[in-house]
C-alpha cells in the first residue's frame, strides 16, 4: 500500500487565503482530514502558533479554531437547517432554545445572501443548499482557520461570486482560509499563495503573483496542457432527435421547450435550484413530467421509468455520485457495467466476467482512471476518479441522448479537459448531448446552444454565437428584467 500523502509541509498565516491545488487523488482531502483530526498522521507534526499539537478528533480541531467544509457535504438529513448549522456548538446551554436557534441561523443564512427556510428538514436540500448549510456552520464557529474543500464544485457563477466574497470578508477579519478548488480562475482571483500537490507529495508553494495558469497546470499534472477555448460557433450537427414541447412538472418546472439534434450539445445554464436537474430527471423517467410532450425521432413518447428512458437510448449522468451515481462499496467493474449489464449476460443470465473486466479495463485506460486495477472499491477512489467511473457506466450503454448533470463536478483540470474531449467526441459521433452545468466557462466551451432557466421557467434559448457569460448570468438572475423595467 502506498501512502495517500507524504512529506507534506504547509503553513497558513492569519489573514491569508491559501489555495491548494492538485489533480484528483493528489491528497488534498486527505491533508485536510488530517488537519481536522478525522485521520491521524503516521508521522510528522502539526504546529499551532508555534506549538506542536496533536489533533485527535474534530473537537481538538475546533478547540484550536480549525473548521472545515468537506468535499462531500456533511449534513444531517433528519435535522432541520438551523440545527444542522449549530450542531457542533458546545456552549449553548443545556436546553434547546429553538426560537433563538432559528433566529441566529436566519441571520447567518441571510449574511450569506441566500434565502433558505431554516426550519426545513435538511433531507430535501439540493447539494448547493447543503453546501450553504456547511458554510453557515463554519461561519458560526469562531474560526481561526477555515478549510474549504471544493466549496464551489456544485455552485453556479452567482453563488460562486457570493462565496468568494465571504472568503475575502473572512480574510479581512484575520481568518486564515485554506481553499481547495479545481477552478483555477477562482484561485487567481482570491488566493494569496498557492500550494500544489501531486501524487500525495508537496510540489511547490508560491505567492500567487509568481505563478500563471499554465505554470500551475504544469506543476499539477507534470506536463503542459492546453487551456480550453471558448466556442464561438456551433458545430455542424445531424438530424433532429429530440423535440420537447411545453414540458412541465406540477409545482417544479413548466413550459420547457427545446429541440436537440444528433451531434448537438445543448447546455442548461441557470442558478442553483433553477430546476434544471428536474428537467433532466423528467427526461430520464425518474420523476415523469405531468404536462407537455416529448418526441424522439418525430414520434411522441411517454417516459415514466428509467428503464423506458434507457430503452429509448437515453442516459443520465447524475450530479450526486455518492447518493445516486455509484455503489461505493462495489468494485469499479461492477459499477461500470451496471447500466448495461444485459450486454454481459450469457446463457441463464450468467455474467461474462472476462468481457466485463475487459470493458472496465478499457475505460480505465481511456478515461485515465487512477487505480491499479478495476477490482478496487469505487469508494476508495478520489472524487474525480469516481466521476470518471460514473461516466464509464453511461458511456457503455452507447446512448443516443446523453444527459450530463454537472459532468465535471470536482474534476481536476486535466480530467476536466479529458471529459470535455469525450463529450465533443461523442457529439462528433452523433450522440445528442444535454449538459446541465453551473460552470460557465464549461458551458461556453461545450455548448452549441444554451438554454437558461430560472425558478423552473425557461428564460431563453439561443445559439452559442449569440451567447456570452454575461447574458447567461443576466437571464439566470433576472437582471435583464430589472434592466428592461428600468
Amino acid at each position: 500500500m502506498t501512502a495517500a500523502l507524504s512529506d507534506m509541509s504547509l503553513a497558513v498565516v492569519p489573514g491569508e487565503i491559501h489555495a491548494v491545488v492538485g489533480e484528483n487523488g493528489a491528497g488534498k482531502s486527505t491533508l485536510i482530514k488530517i488537519m481536522t483530526g478525522v485521520y491521524q498522521p503516521d508521522s510528522g507534526e502539526i504546529l499551532n502558533e508555534g506549538k506542536a499539537v496533536t489533533i485527535r478528533n474534530t473537537h481538538g480541531a475546533q478547540a484550536l479554531g480549525i473548521a472545515a467544509m468537506y468535499q462531500e457535504p456533511m449534513v444531517f438529513p433528519d435535522l432541520d437547517v438551523a440545527e444542522n448549522i449549530f450542531i457542533s456548538h458546545r456552549n449553548l446551554g443545556t436546553f434547546m432554545n429553538w426560537g433563538k436557534l432559528y433566529q441566529s441561523s436566519d441571520e447567518l443564512i441571510s449574511r450569506l445572501g441566500v434565502s433558505l427556510d431554516v426550519r426545513r428538514a435538511a433531507s430535501g436540500l439540493t447539494l448547493a443548499e447543503q453546501q450553504t448549510v456547511e458554510i453557515a456552520r463554519a461561519l458560526s464557529l469562531n474560526v481561526k482557520v477555515l478549510i474549504m474543500d471544493e466549496p464551489t464544485a456544485s455552485l453556479s457563477a452567482h453563488e460562486v461570486e457570493r462565496l468568494l466574497n465571504i472568503g475575502k470578508a473572512l480574510k479581512a477579519r484575520g481568518v486564515a482560509v485554506l481553499y481547495i478548488s479545481h477552478r483555477l480562475d477562482e484561485i487567481f482571483r482570491i488566493a494569496d499563495r498557492v500550494t500544489v500537490l501531486r501524487d500525495g507529495k508537496h510540489i511547490s508553494t508560491k505567492p500567487i503573483a509568481e505563478v500563471n495558469h499554465d505554470g500551475l497546470v504544469k506543476d499539477m499534472v507534470g506536463r503542459a496542457l492546453d487551456k480550453f477555448a471558448t466556442k464561438t460557433k456551433a458545430n455542424e450537427h445531424g438530424p433532429l432527435l429530440l423535440s420537447v414541447k411545453n414540458l412541465s412538472l406540477d409545482g417544479v418546472f413548466r413550459n420547457v421547450t427545446f429541440e436537440l439534434h444528433k451531434g448537438e450539445v445543448l447546455c442548461f445554464g441557470g442558478l442553483v435550484g433553477s430546476r434544471r436537474t428536474d428537467v433532466g430527471l423528467a427526461l430520464f423517467g425518474i420523476s415523469p413530467s405531468t404536462g407537455g410532450s416529448i418526441e424522439l425521432d418525430g414520434r411522441q413518447v411517454v417516459i415514466s421509468t428509467p428503464q423506458q428512458a434507457m430503452d429509448y437510448g437515453i442516459a443520465y449522468v447524475s450530479e450526486d455520485r455518492r447518493k445516486l451515481g455509484l455503489a461505493m462499496t462495489m468494485p469499479i467493474y461492477a459499477n461500470a457495467s451496471l447500466a448495461s449489464l444485459k450486454k454481459f449476460l450469457r446463457r441463464f443470465g450468467f455474467i461474462d466476467r472476462a468481457a466485463e473486466n475487459a470493458m472496465a479495463e478499457q475505460y480505465r485506460e481511456r478515461l485515465s482512471i487512477r487505480s491499479p486495477d478495476v477490482k478496487i472499491e469505487v469508494g476508495k477512489l478520489s472524487g474525480g476518479n469516481q466521476q470518471k467511473v460514473m461516466l464509464a457506466k453511461w458511456l457503455e450503454t452507447k446512448p443516443r441522448l446523453l444527459i450530463f448533470d454537472e459532468p465535471t463536478r470536482g474534476v481536476d483540470v486535466g480530467a476536466k479537459a479529458e471529459v470535455h474531449n469525450i463529450i465533443r467526441e461523442l457529439a462528433k459521433q452523433g450522440v445528442a448531448i444535454l449538459v446541465i452545468s453551473s460552470d460557465l466557462p464549461e458551458v461556453m466551451a461545450l455548448a452549441d446552444r444554451v438554454l437558461v432557466m430560472r425558478e423552473g421557467q425557461q428564460m431563453g434559448i439561443f445559439d452559442i454565437s449569440d451567447c456570452s457569460q454575461e447574458r447567461v448570468i443576466a437571464l439566470a438572475t433576472g437582471q435583464d428584467q430589472v434592466a428592461s423595467a428600468a
Partner: protein, 321 residues
C-alpha cells in the same frame, strides 16, 4: 480489497468449523457416524433451507421475519387440504402457490408501497401465524400418506433424505444466481444503494418482489418438509424459527446493512451452528446453554476480528511514532 476481506471472514469461519468438528469427534464417540451426520442436518433442515433464501434477502438490505409463519401456514394448509380429501400431490402444489402468494403480498407492501420490510414482515409474522391458527385451531393433524412422511424422514438418494438434497441443490442454484448472474449483481447493487440501482435502470421493485416470492415459496417448501418430517402438523409449527435463521445468516458474514455476504460464508456458518449444537447435545448440554454458546460465538466472530484489527492499527501507530 472487499474480496480479500470476505475471504478472510470465510477463512475464520472455516477454522471455527474445523475446530468444532475436531472437538466433537474427540468428545462424542457417536459424532462421526453417518446416521448422526445425517440427523444433524435433518433436525434443522427447514431452517437451513430457508437461511439460503434469507441470505439473498439480507444482502438486498431487506429482512423477512415472516418466514417461519409462512412455513407454519403452508404446513397447516397442507394438513387441512389432505384432511379434507385433497390428493397430497395437489395439496403440495397448492401450498407452494400459497407461499408465492404470501411472498408476493409481502413484496407488494415492501417494493411498491415502500414500507420497510422489517415493519411489513413483523406484521405478517403475526398475521400468517394467525391464519395457520384459524385453520387448525387447537387441533393437530396426522395421517398423511405414507410416501409423504417417507419423503420427510427416509433416505431418498443413497443415504440422504430429500431435504438434504433440496438443500444442496438450492445452495448451488442460489449461490450461482447470487454470485454469477446479472440478477445476483442487481441484488448486491440494490443492497448497497437502492437509489443508485434505480438511477441505473435496475427494476428495483421487481428484484425485491422476486426475492420475497423466492423467500415465500422456499419457506412454504420448508414448511411441507417439516410436515413430512414430523408426519403431523399443528398451529404452532415452526414458531420462532426466524431468529435462528437470521442468526445463521449473520454469522455467515452477511451484512445486516446489505450489499455484502456470500453463500459460502452462510454454508460455513450453517455447518458450524449445526455441528456445535449436535456436539453439545451429544455431551448433554441443555438447550439454554446451547443457545447461549451460539450467541457468544455470533458476537465473538465479529468482535474478535474488530479487536485484533484495532490492536494491530494502534500497534502500528506506536511503532511508527
Amino acid at each position: 480489497m472487499m474480496l480479500a476481506r470476505l475471504k478472510s471472514w470465510e477463512g475464520l469461519l472455516l477454522i471455527i468449523l474445523i475446530i468444532t468438528v475436531l472437538a466433537n469427534a474427540a468428545l462424542a464417540p457417536q459424532f462421526l457416524t453417518l446416521q448422526n451426520q445425517i440427523n444433524l442436518f435433518q433436525l434443522s433442515i427447514e431452517k437451513i433451507i430457508v437461511a439460503l433464501a434469507m441470505t439473498l434477502i439480507i444482502i438486498n438490505a431487506e429482512i423477512d421475519l415472516s418466514v417461519a409463519s409462512i412455513m407454519g401456514l403452508a404446513a397447516c394448509t397442507f394438513g387441512i387440504l389432505v384432511e379434507s380429501g385433497t390428493p397430497a400431490g395437489l395439496a403440495i402444489i397448492l401450498c407452494l402457490m400459497l407461499g408465492i402468494v404470501a411472498g408476493a403480498f409481502n413484496a407488494f407492501w415492501i417494493a411498491y408501497v415502500q414500507i420497510p420490510s422489517l415493519v411489513v414482515t413483523l406484521a405478517m409474522l403475526i398475521m400468517y401465524r394467525g391464519i395457520a391458527r384459524v385453520l387448525l385451531e387447537d387441533r393437530g393433524i396426522t395421517g398423511f400418506p405414507q410416501w409423504f412422511g417417507d419423503l420427510g424422514q427416509k433416505a431418498f438418494l443413497g443415504p440422504f433424505p430429500l431435504g438434504m438434497i433440496i438443500f444442496v441443490v438450492l445452495l448451488v442454484v442460489l449461490g450461482l444466481v447470487l454470485h454469477r448472474t446479472g440478477f445476483g449483481r442487481e441484488v448486491f447493487v440494490i443492497g448497497t444503494n437502492a437509489e443508485v440501482a434505480r438511477f441505473s435502470g435496475v427494476r428495483v421493485a421487481r428484484v425485491k418482489t422476486i426475492l420475497f416470492i423466492i423467500s415465500g415459496v422456499i419457506s412454504a417448501l420448508a414448511g411441507l418438509l417439516y410436515a413430512g418430517r414430523l408426519a403431523s402438523v399443528r398451529g404452532d409449527a415452526a414458531t420462532g424459527f426466524e431468529l435462528d435463521i437470521i442468526t445463521m445468516v449473520l454469522l455467515g458474514g452477511v451484512s445486516i446493512f446489505g450489499g455484502r455476504g456470500t453463500i459460502i460464508g452462510v454454508l460455513f456458518s450453517i455447518l458450524i451452528v449445526l455441528n456445535l449444537r449436535n456436539g453439545m447435545a451429544l455431551v448433554n448440554v441443555t438447550g439454554h446453554i446451547q443457545t447461549a454458546v451460539i450467541g457468544i460465538l455470533l458476537i465473538m466472530s465479529v468482535l474478535g476480528p474488530n479487536l485484533a484489527e484495532r490492536m494491530r492499527s494502534t500497534g502500528l501507530a506506536k511503532a511508527s511514532a
